[in-house]
Symmetry: C2
Subunit: 471 residues, 2 copies
Amino acid sequence: MMKTLQVDVAIIGAGTAGLYALREVKRANKSFVLIDKGPLGTTCARVGCMPSKVALHAAELWSMRQEQKHYGISGVEQLEIDRAAAWAKVRAMRDDFAGGAADNAIKSAGEHLLMGEAKFLEPTVLQVEGEDGIQRIEAKAVIIAVGSRPVVPSFLTPFSDYLITTDKLFELEKLPKRLGLLGLGVIGLEMGLALQRLGVKVVGADMAKAIGGIRDPEVAKYALQAFADNFPMFLGESAKLEEAEQGVQLVSGDNRVTVDKVLVALGRRPNIDKLNLAEAGFKLDERGMPEFNLNTLQIEDYPVYLVGDANAYRTLMHEAAAEGAIVGFNASRDLPQAFERKTSLAIAFTQPDIISVGASFTDLDEDETLIGAAYSKNDGRSRILSSKEGVLRIYADKKDGRLLGAAMVGARAEHLGQYLALAISQKMTAHELLAAPFYHPVVEEMIQSALQDIARKMPESPYPFGLTVMN
Amino acid sequence: MMKTLQVDVAIIGAGTAGLYALREVKRANKSFVLIDKGPLGTTCARVGCMPSKVALHAAELWSMRQEQKHYGISGVEQLEIDRAAAWAKVRAMRDDFAGGAADNAIKSAGEHLLMGEAKFLEPTVLQVEGEDGIQRIEAKAVIIAVGSRPVVPSFLTPFSDYLITTDKLFELEKLPKRLGLLGLGVIGLEMGLALQRLGVKVVGADMAKAIGGIRDPEVAKYALQAFADNFPMFLGESAKLEEAEQGVQLVSGDNRVTVDKVLVALGRRPNIDKLNLAEAGFKLDERGMPEFNLNTLQIEDYPVYLVGDANAYRTLMHEAAAEGAIVGFNASRDLPQAFERKTSLAIAFTQPDIISVGASFTDLDEDETLIGAAYSKNDGRSRILSSKEGVLRIYADKKDGRLLGAAMVGARAEHLGQYLALAISQKMTAHELLAAPFYHPVVEEMIQSALQDIARKMPESPYPFGLTVMN
């Protein structure tokens, strides 16, 4: 007979969201089981944010030689990169981060870690098939933290020998010489640039006309300029693959380039399709998604929670962590609590970086919004960092100057993103933020310039920008 | 007879403070004269923040080769630096920045720029001696923005042939081979590290036991470790110079090193000693400083204002700019207005950077303060950036967790300084700041870790750290 386990909380998935949920469940002294089908280690550490940053760092070290020349450094032409060795170092650091994440799961869950594949029988009853057979789990609450996987559209199936997804990229022992890149969103752009800078011949394509998912047309224009010399990008048309004598052809409009491998970066889809949700009684929409509340993360009125990449809302590590805490808290209590969502923040570490904070350009009512801009070419520190192709645009409410959002491409933009997210979450106005200290020379002075641009478009203030009268 | 000029506002000094003051005077439609003894160009652009950052950037490009090796890049040993060419590039960028600052003065003041040396005859009457003779200026208000110069103690006078100050460093056409460094505060440390990384053999000495002016003992310890391999630092004893066969000897305790030049970085003193202040009726203290209000910058009850490096309060470019706006505003009005001072922020761009924000460690009452710490070696992004010797310490009020100050040595600390200055100026608590988004992997996550460290020392919160209950 099937073994039955009764717990307060069953968590499906030992990734970032699941582990942050577990922490709250333990803090509430609830019994639990943490189910994972393996391999352990978070998406972020195994195939996502961490290894991509290592690859970008390696790429920066190598591409730095162009700038070294300008400062009297000779012999730069004789430098060589052993791509295999560079990639091995990237993978070694990846293994280190991923190993740490896996250990974390094992330590946190202890004997309550159950390796196996979970399916719903009823909203709070699971069946888990693992190496030790099948178990039935009866839980008071269930957390669905099953993560996501790369989308690979069916038209690519005939070329599967040539395809790599970001989930497999860091498994490669050897980098291809020529790489086609399908999808120039944040992930595609980051990896395409890293590999191109490491010496891979890259060509990319995207249906969208902007790269990096940029919504602001001015920022999109500058981003295209900033990366124009890196590799050819075929934009605004759907691309396809065709057979070639050696390798495979990436075809977009009249463009046709033969490559050895194709990196598919067309987005990720939630891993909820194998959970048997419909059969267990959950209502699913046309995309197969259950209905859930963004502030409690509860599905319908069940004591069941959908979290992290699995809910496809904000598929970012820091959001998965926050959502994990929300559902761990809620699954441990009789009534779910609604929590505020964080100010949205997205960063592409593309050097120059691309960021989007708070409201995006396409969310705004043009008539109600002031836009302040600052340009890298006018910023002292950006010039020192040899970064001239950048722009920051900050959006504010015309009524009172309250900051709504921002977008940027430029050197060190990741840090400006953090800073602006704080200011926006504090509901600050342009004038209020101008009162903060802006050191010199720091790239954050671009924020000051853009805020002054906004302030100049507002009714004139009696006091100089950035000064606060004492009471 | 002496020509007499009557103006609303006389500004002495066309540096950062003077030019920011001028902007407000013009905005108030007051008549003015801008007096400068030359050369034009701000301290920041000519000899301070800007050229030092260029030198540090050049130094980073050169020292980068150590890390390049770890990522499969070979031929690094064959790289050579032409120090003269590197220095020429630094100086060329310096000339560009300084030229821009000088042009700015000329454009802003137009025909009201008067080149010459000013002295006070009475509190609002000046005498200016220039190439075109002597002029008398009768003003309704006077702004003293005369800047500062490096301190060179008299015991160094016999060795003047060997001495360089930061005011002259960027005039050097050739870098010395061996450099002694007197003073390891922010400026000494920045320039010492830049020159050492560019290949100069540097040795430094300071009476203080901490480098970079660090007050927090834990941060001071980590900073010493971080820079231990750069060059010898003789600390905690007063150093002196002695004659040598070739060059000059830097002597500190039992240490004795022969060098070619000595960079004197023992601080700067206000240029107010030549203004004839006492004779004109101002009361001076034992250090020769007039008494002024920190929020109006007014001297006694005169319509005379002391601003920028000249008042020796916060000798930083961004503070000079803010003070300039204050005095430009006040000098244009009958009654001076008191303004809030900005949250204090100091950055040494030493890579790893050193920062101090808000209240410093020595200002705090140990019994009333919680300290939260985070270490670079535990931070993913810092590890990717090969920065392991860092620590961030955040100080909060034990009563309510309100943030008071912070100190750090670590990679990208300049950006964490900006961020923390904003949070402190907003009077945020540790719990409130935890609700902001912290992307992954960013060095700002060290702030999150240090805040969690503080939060764990406070009475337990019912909700997970970083979550805000919806109303």
